[in-house]
């Protein structure tokens, strides 16, 4: 991680992406502070994944600018890619390579120092060391997801983008993942967590944002949400913004 600069870590200004006539992301602007964890909620089709793809550099925005520490950067440039980590629906893993080989491959792509130590630390953090030499195709969904998280964090990114990390996980895998995500709240790393799991989102985040039809329609500190009423509040917000069922 790089030293924390004053001001927001990540800024989006008027970020938009259209697919034909459909605006998946519609002029979204926000700031994420260093060390802040923000949970992004929203119904299916709200454009949350598209927003993450824009921030990761997987997609080019139709309009808008993104800044890291106050500087507008190309999301496909080496500085952005070195400082942002992405956990997507797909794990970006090679099934015929072992977990250790996958992480070693990514360590070399990022040209990381002390690659061997980082790989071993990453495997340990997600409790995969005992199966590190097994090919990934023999892994369960939960193990793959944990390995994908280790890959995401391998280069110690300043900004972590997580897209539905709990999808398809059993209780044990979810608990391991929760432990790793809680460890990300180290006061320096900025995390944007897209999730449908309102309870998990609330427990892990400092701030909650709700996206409907490509727009951020609601933002509030997580402490303003009551865990017992969050589902009802979320439903009212989504319906009030013209969104479908969550």
């Amino acid at each position: 991680m790089t030293a924390t600069a004053p001001g927001p870590r990540l800024e989006a200004e008027g970020l938009a992406r259209a697919f034909g006539a459909h605006r998946a992301v519609d002029h979204v602007s926000f700031t994420l502070e260093p060390g802040e964890v923000v949970a992004l909620l929203g119904p299916n089709g709200a454009g949350k994944t598209t927003l993450l793809r824009l921030l990761s550099g997987a997609l080019r925005p139709s309009e808008g600018v993104v800044k890291l520490d106050g500087r507008a950067l190309d999301t496909r440039g080496p500085e952005w890619q070195s400082r942002v980590g992405v956990l997507s629906h797909q794990g970006f893993l090679y099934g015929h390579l072992s977990a250790r080989e996958n992480l070693r491959f990514y360590a070399d792509l990022y040209a990381l120092d002390h690659a061997r130590e980082r790989v071993e630390r990453g495997l340990e953090s997600v409790q995969l060391t005992p199966r590190a030499d097994d090919t990934v195709r023999t892994y369960s969904r939960g193990m793959r997801q944990r390995l994908a998280l280790a890959r995401t964090l391998l280069h110690d990114p300043d900004v972590v983008l997580l897209d539905e990390p709990y999808t398809g996980l059993d209780a044990h895998a979810a608990a391991v993942l929760r432990g790793v995500l809680e460890a990300l709240r180290d006061g320096a790393r900025t995390v944007l967590l897209v999730t449908h799991n309102l309870t998990e989102g609330l427990a892990l985040s400092d701030r909650i944002a709700i996206q409907v039809r490509g727009r951020w329609v609601h933002e509030a500190p997580a402490r303003d949400f009551d865990p017992t009423t969050i589902h009802e509040r979320y439903r009212q917000t989504v319906e009030g913004a013209g969104g479908g069922a969550p």
């Binding site: 080496p78 990514y106 792509l109």
Partner: protein, 226 residues
Amino acid sequence: MNAYLRQVYAVVRKDLLQELRTRQRVATMGAFAVLVAVLFNYAVDPTIVRIQNIAAGLLWMTLIFAGIMGVGRTFALEAEDGAFQGVLLAPIPRDAIYLGKVISNTVLVTVVVALTVGVFGLFFQLQYGTHPVALALTLFLGVVGFVALATLFGAVTAGTTLGEALLPVLLFPLLVPLVVYGVGATGRLLQNRPLAEVEGNIRILGAFAVACIAIGAVLFRHVVED
């Protein structure tokens, strides 16, 4: 090792490890080459046609068709679990990815060419001439030029609905110079003609390979990102 070479090496190592585990591409290309040799063995009557006269053409056609089957699969293998997207999100120069893929594909196709040459020798009692090093160099430069183009166009067609079916259509017209000079040099070497007669062809094959790699390295970024 500097960062760039480390990244190229990472791609080469990953591709070869995958192939070592799956043996998908070498097995497919190798089986195709052997089957073609078997069919030619029955299709060509050695009492009518002197095999040394047509061996170069048969060899190069087999090489190209087998090579397309293997190199065309390069990016299909990357699609699993979105792995190639992960590579593109890493701070690696796109030309480093391309060079890594060209090197790994060259290794695989070279193995298949060696097998093909051996099988042709076995079936047709083919004599390799008095300049085996020049013959090997001719075939190797042909493989590099072919792989450089096929890897680039493999990336182009990977994202299309027609996929691998489109690859030969795009690729074959561009392979004409390679085939003309490659078959010319190989034919003369198999017929024990003087080395001076093929030097020009070998130089052109070398220049073709270098030009294809240079153009591929420049264009690859646009192919995979846009």
